[in-house]
Subunit: 202 residues, 2 copies
DNA sequence: TTTTGGTTACACAGACCTGTGTACTTAGGC
DNA sequence: GCCTAAGTACACAGGTCTGTGTAACCAAAA
C-alpha cells in the first residue's frame, strides 16, 4: 500500500496535479478525466479520494491559501518585499493571476463556497498589511492596508492581461509614496515630515 | 421586415442579451441556446447573425469597449470622478468585475483574440489617465498613470470578491495622495510642499 | 492461503454544449 | 398574386462533461 514510487500520499498527488491544471488552464477548462490521466490513475481512484469535482476545487483553493511566514525583518521592509516577490512571480511564465479572483470570475457569483474562501484569503492579506503597519505605529493602519491591497490586486490583474512584470514595480513605487505619506521611512527620499500625521501635542 | 415590436436591429437585441448573460453569469456558463431563448428567437436565427459563439464573444467584448467621452471639467476633477463612478457601479447589484479581466480569466491564455482586446482596453484607460496628467503638467505622467490604473483594477478585483463599494473610496484616497505627491492640487490638505519634489537648486 | 483494501480498465447513463440541416411560415416589395 | 428574405420549429450529429457501476487485479496482512 505504501507507494514506493511516490513518497507523497495519493491525495496530495491528485491535488498537486489539479493545482497545476486548474491554475494554468482554468477550472472550467479542465475535466476530472484530464486530471486523472495526468496523475496516471483511473478516474475511479480520483473519485475515491474526492467525492465530487466541487470538493476537489475547494481543496485546490484551500491548498493555495498559504499563510505568510513570520519574519524578523523590519515591517517596512517586509511590506515592500511583498512587491518584489510579486515581480518575481510575474516574471515566471507560469503565473496566471490570483487563483481566488480567477475562481470567482470563472465560477460566478452563485458559488458561495468559492466566494467564501476567496474573501477569507483577501482579508487575511489585508490583515497582514495592517499588522505590519501597526508595528510601525501608523495611525490609519486599516485604511492604508486596504490601499496597499488594492495595489497588489491591481498589479496582478494588470499582469494577467498584459504579462508585464513592470506592474509590480509600479505598485511598489506607489506603495512607497503612500507609506511615506503616512510617516513611514522607506529609504531613499526623506519621509513626509508629519504636517498632520506625527500630530504635534495639541 | 422592419420589426414593429422592436426598434433595435436583431443583431443589437442579441448582443444586448448576450452582454447581460455573459457578464453576469460568465461566458462559459452561458450557452447559445440560453441566449436565443432569452431573446425569444430560434438558435438558427442567432447563428444567422453570428457565425460562431467565439464571434459573439468577440462582439460582446468590442461592445463593452466604450471610449471615454471628452469632458471640459478640469483634468484633476475628471481623474477623481473616475473613482466616484466606480463606486456607483460597485454599489449596483449587477456589477461583476471587469469583463475583460473576467474573460481572460475564464477563457485562458490560449485565446489570443480575447487577450488582444483586453490589452487594448487596459491600455486605452492608462493612456486616458496619462493624457489628463499631461494636461496638468505632471512630469512623470506615464508612471503615475500606470499607478492610477493599478488602483482602478485593484478596487475592481477587490469588489468582485468582497462586494464592498468602499474599495472605490479607498482607491480614491490613495489616488489623491499620489496626485498630491506629484504636485497636483486635489483640494483638501495642501499639496506636498516640495522637500524633494520641487527640487531645491542643488 | 485466504482475505482485504486500494487500484485499474472500461462501459455507460444523463446532461449539456456547439453547430448544422431541413422543411415550414410569414410579411413586405414588386 | 408571386417572389424573396428573414425567421421558426425541430431534429440531430458529434463532442464533452460529471459521476457511477462492475468485474478483474494485485499486494500486503492475517
Amino acid at each position: 500500500m505504501a507507494p514506493p514510487t511516490h513518497p507523497q500520499t495519493m491525495k496530495e498527488r491528485i491535488l498537486e496535479t489539479a493545482d497545476k491544471l486548474f491554475y494554468l488552464q482554468g477550472i472550467r477548462a479542465i475535466g476530472v478525466d484530464t486530471i486523472a490521466a495526468e496523475v496516471g490513475i483511473s478516474k475511479r481512484t480520483l473519485y475515491n479520494h474526492f467525492p465530487s469535482k466541487d470538493a476537489l476545487i475547494a481543496a485546490y483553493l484551500e491548498r493555495r491559501f498559504v499563510h505568510a511566514r513570520p519574519s524578523d525583518k523590519p515591517p517596512a521592509e517586509q511590506i515592500l518585499a511583498t512587491f518584489d516577490s510579486l515581480e518575481r512571480r510575474f516574471a515566471a511564465k507560469d503565473f496566471r493571476g490570483c487563483p481566488f479572483v480567477n475562481a470567482v470570475a470563472e465560477l460566478g457569483p452563485a458559488d458561495r463556497a468559492v466566494k467564501k474562501i476567496a474573501i477569507a484569503f483577501k482579508e487575511s492579506r489585508r490583515v497582514w498589511f495592517r499588522d505590519r503597519l501597526s508595528e510601525l505605529g501608523v495611525a490609519e493602519a486599516e485604511a492604508l492596508a486596504t490601499q496597499l491591497v488594492l495595489l497588489v490586486d491591481g498589479s496582478i490583474a494588470q499582469d494577467l492581461v498584459r504579462d508585464d512584470p513592470a506592474m509590480a514595480r509600479a505598485a511598489k513605487e506607489a506603495a512607497k509614496v503612500l507609506l511615506r505619506n503616512a510617516g513611514v521611512d522607506v529609504g531613499g527620499a526623506a519621509a513626509v515630515p508629519a504636517k498632520q500625521d506625527k500630530r504635534p501635542p495639541h
